[in-house]
């Protein structure tokens, strides 16, 4: 195929790239595919069109932290799950609570996590989160011992279908009624 000349052909190139890419495609990635310079605004417009083109189809174009990707519409996931009946093991509450603390309070040290949860952080918990590439070390706090500072990764956002942390519900939404400690 020769270089796409009109906008319709460019849209097709975008479509095939998005359908075959294993990682979300960023606007930078998309620009690389065209010899002629294509404006980011044009790309966004084409992506919008693509989204509309696929409105009635089984896949949808979504934007996540590192770019755009096609994914199955949620209503079909039940069927897809039957292809792989082995359920992914659930993370323990300790893992999820640690993840929540890192997501909402990042960058945090292990000490911060222990302070909030009231129990020592099991090294295994941090390892699981790092192996999943949901959490990594972004630096050290300049206090004695220079403890590592943990933060969530873009991969975490991608996996949770988020564009940014701001899309997580606000922490205040989780605060229940006041706690009365009567003495």
């Amino acid at each position: 195929m020769s270089e796409p000349e009109n906008i319709a052909q460019k849209k097709q190139v975008l479509e095939v790239a998005l359908l075959t890419s294993r990682q979300p495609l960023s606007l930078d990635d998309m620009q690389k595919m065209f010899v002629d310079r294509i404006e980011r605004a044009t790309l966004r417009m084409l992506l919008d069109e693509l989204k509309q083109d696929w409105e009635e189809r089984t896949m949808e174009l979504v934007q996540v932290a590192t770019g755009y990707r096609f994914q199955a519409r949620t209503e079909y996931v039940t069927f897809l799950a039957r292809l792989n009946p082995e359920k992914q093991p659930k993370y323990s509450r300790a893992v999820m609570e640690t993840l929540a603390i890192i997501a909402y309070r990042q960058p945090v040290t292990r000490g911060d996590i222990e302070e909030i949860r009231g129990v020592a952080v099991n090294p295994n918990v941090m390892r699981q989160l790092q192996e999943r590439d949901w959490v990594d070390i972004v630096g050290q706090r300049e206090v004695p011992g220079r403890p590592s500072l943990y933060a969530t990764t873009k991969h975490f956002l991608n996996d949770l279908n988020l564009r940014s942390l701001a899309e997580l519900p606000a922490m205040e939404d989780f605060v229940k009624t006041e706690i009365q400690l009567d003495l």
Partner: protein, 273 residues
């Protein structure tokens, strides 16, 4: 899940028949059941809660307990019992629970102490615990929310249509000159590896028989080794020469004599006389 486990634990009934206690002016006859978990149930208890904050939160939310208004002495005794058990089970957790009980007792004792009026406005000793409980509770709920969110690999299926990957690396271009040069190099090197072809030696046994006979006409008596020129002749020629000697001997044209074993062999024409 945690409340499920808790329900399985039989509430520990206080053995004392009566409890003379008054709380906010009301007679108080029964200890709050949930606080008294038999040490035997400790393993379930530990699994059900993520820590002392989690336990405290559970007690508050489930029964609207006046958490700090419980008999501290009893609570401490219970805790110490747990500690003993924990030593055998999960020592690292024991410290966390012990710390919490110490904190509760400290708050309680500070509340009991009469406060000088002028510093009445001082921070409520409970405030810090309340702050921690609220923070922990919101994190706990946030964790549940994260857990329920759809995730790639579980509830999100990402498109990954197959395509035949073409190698990104372009094959380098080759000119005719490059090719010629390469061929020359090959030829140059080939010389070094040239095989020494061993052709079929055009040696005839018959011809050598004649040569030997001719020599014997001249010398009439030769030592066997004199027939072979080891320095000049190659192995094929020596072999052919040997075969010629044998053939001559077989045909009775030549006689070989030896005086004693390992002594020189002499060759001479077999004269007919």
């Amino acid at each position: 899940m945690c409340s499920q486990n808790l329900r399985d634990i039989k509430p520990y009934m206080q053995t004392q028949a009566t409890l003379d206690a008054r709380i906010h002016g009301e007679a108080f006859t029964q200890a709050p059941h949930d606080l008294y978990i038999p040490p035997d149930a400790l393993e379930i208890y530990l699994d059900a809660f993520e820590g002392p904050l989690d336990l405290l939160l559970y007690l508050i939310r489930k029964h609207n307990l006046d958490v700090l208004d419980i008999p501290m002495a009893d609570l401490t005794r219970q805790y110490m019992l747990y500690m003993e058990k924990m030593k055998a089970i999960k020592l690292e957790l024991a410290g966390d629970y012990l710390l919490m009980s110490a904190m509760l007792i400290e708050i309680k004792s500070r509340m009991l102490l009469p406060k000088p009026v002028e510093i009445e406005s001082e921070d409520d000793p409970r405030a810090e615990l309340v702050r921690r409980l609220i923070e922990y509770e919101s994190i706990k709920l946030a964790a549940q929310h994260l857990d329920e969110m759809p995730k790639v690999g579980e509830d999100i299926a990402v498109a990954s249509a197959y395509y035949q990957h073409i190698s990104d690396v372009k094959p380098p271009e080759v000119s005719l000159d490059d090719l010629t040069e390469a061929w020359r190099n090959v030829l140059k090197r080939v010389i070094h590896f040239k095989h020494h072809k061993v052709g079929k030696a055009e040696l005839s046994v018959r011809e050598h028989m004649s040569i030997i006979l001719r020599r014997l006409q001249v010398d009439s008596f030769l030592e066997f080794s004199q027939l072979f020129d080891v320095t000049k002749d190659g192995i094929p020629k020596l072999v052919v020469c040997f075969l010629a000697v044998l053939e001559l001997a077989r045909e009775g044209l030549l006689r070989m004599t030896q005086q004693a074993p390992f002594s020189p062999i002499y060759v001479q024409l077999n004269s007919c006389e």
